[in-house]
């Protein structure tokens, strides 16, 4: 039986890589009257569902996607986070039910 694994892939510029967006956000904090915030980095979060027979297999797929497509290894690092898992057939049935 297969399971739907929901993952979040968090992509951030690697340490030391220029991050003008992070710098711009940091620069704006003063205008809000907020002190004590530093090292702002702006990245990207991608959520996706992988259908597989087990978590290890699903995670391997998500890791491969993250490394080859969702991030550029020269400039970005990623972290894959499991959000939850549901039985594939159950979720298909519930989708059908909600549509009906």
């Amino acid at each position: 039986m297969s399971t739907d694994f929901r993952f979040a892939v968090n992509v951030l510029p690697k340490p030391g890589i220029l991050d003008p967006q992070g710098r711009a956000v940091e620069g704006s904090l003063g205008h809000l009257g907020i002190d004590g915030v530093s090292a702002v980095r702006v990245g990207r979060r991608v959520e996706l569902t992988v259908t597989a027979s087990g978590e290890a297999e699903a995670r391997a797929t998500a890791e491969r996607l993250a490394g080859e497509l969702l991030s550029n290894p020269l400039i970005e690092a990623f972290r894959v986070e499991l959000l939850g898992a549901t039985s594939s057939t159950t979720s298909a049935a519930s989708t059908g039910a909600s549509r009906a």
Binding site: L18, P20, Q21, N72, L74, I75
Partner: protein, 250 residues
């Protein structure tokens, strides 16, 4: 017979017509290559034009990298074929790993469309040998992600091996600074505007030589680069034909 040069058309390419126009001016026969086709139709060189391939979704150039035509372009490049990426085409080549480095968001965060000046750092390459005596070259940029990045070791290696083809320069020809120098529009490291691969047959640059290829456009400083590419591709095609004839004669 004029040499056939392929111009790849991705959904979102917007300099493909400018590029075919400049190629025709230089005496080549441009051949448009649709992104879904795997055949390069026997062209002698390939140009990846500017634009926003696949909407530049995710990261500029990354989705284009996985298109059928790019698999063929990668094979063509591995075989020694001449490939030039302009602007978005440079981003596609960098994402595909066909040229070193990456293009980051401009330091000023803004999309920039204006003229810049670049110096030809290597004059004896297939991409630059007809660049002419005019220095520096003035041509437009139009990009939001053009800040050239590679780690320090790679940058040192690129410089040591003559793989930095173009740099942003000031109007007096001196190399632009990295930060807070308007002559370096996007904050590229070491003011790098264009590079080539180790084999020397694949190059990319952010400025648009095809948009500066005739006096009517305000500058023809870029035309020498287009002519260099066409002539080099033609020479390569002639050499291949000669070899083919020789083999056939045996």
């Amino acid at each position: 017979m004029s040499v056939r040069i392929g111009v790849v058309v991705f959904p979102g390419s917007n300099c493909d017509r400018d590029t075919t126009h400049a190629l025709a001016l230089a005496g080549a026969e441009p051949v448009e290559l649709w992104h879904e086709q795997a055949s390069l139709e026997g062209v002698a060189g390939v140009i990846l034009p500017g634009g926003l391939a696949y909407g530049d979704y995710l990261r500029a150039g990354v989705i284009a990298r996985f298109s059928p035509v790019m698999r063929s372009v990668a094979a063509f490049a591995a075989d020694g074929g001449l490939v030039l990426g302009i602007c978005n085409g440079f981003q596609v080549l960098a994402e595909a790993g066909l040229v070193p480095g990456a293009l980051l968001r401009n330091r000023g965060l803004r999309f920039l469309g204006r003229d810049v000046r670049i110096a030809v750092e290597q004059a004896d390459t297939p991409f630059t040998h007809l660049a002419g005596e005019r220095r520096p070259l003035r041509m437009p940029i139009a990009h939001g992600e053009g800040c050239y990045y590679a780690d320090a070791a790679t940058l040192d290696d690129l410089e040591a091996t003559g793989r930095v083809l173009f740099r942003y320069v000031r109007s007096d020809g001196s190399t632009a600074g990295e930060a807070d120098d308007p002559a370096n529009p996007n904050g590229s490291l070491r003011a790098i505007a264009g590079v080539r691969n180790a084999a020397g047959n694949v190059a990319g640059l952010m400025p648009h030589p095809e948009r500066a290829s005739e006096g009517l456009l305000g500058s023809d400083d870029g035309f020498g680069l287009i002519r260099s590419f066409v002539e080099s591709a033609a020479a390569g095609a002639a050499a291949t034909t000669a070899v083919g004839t020789e083999v056939g004669a045996r």
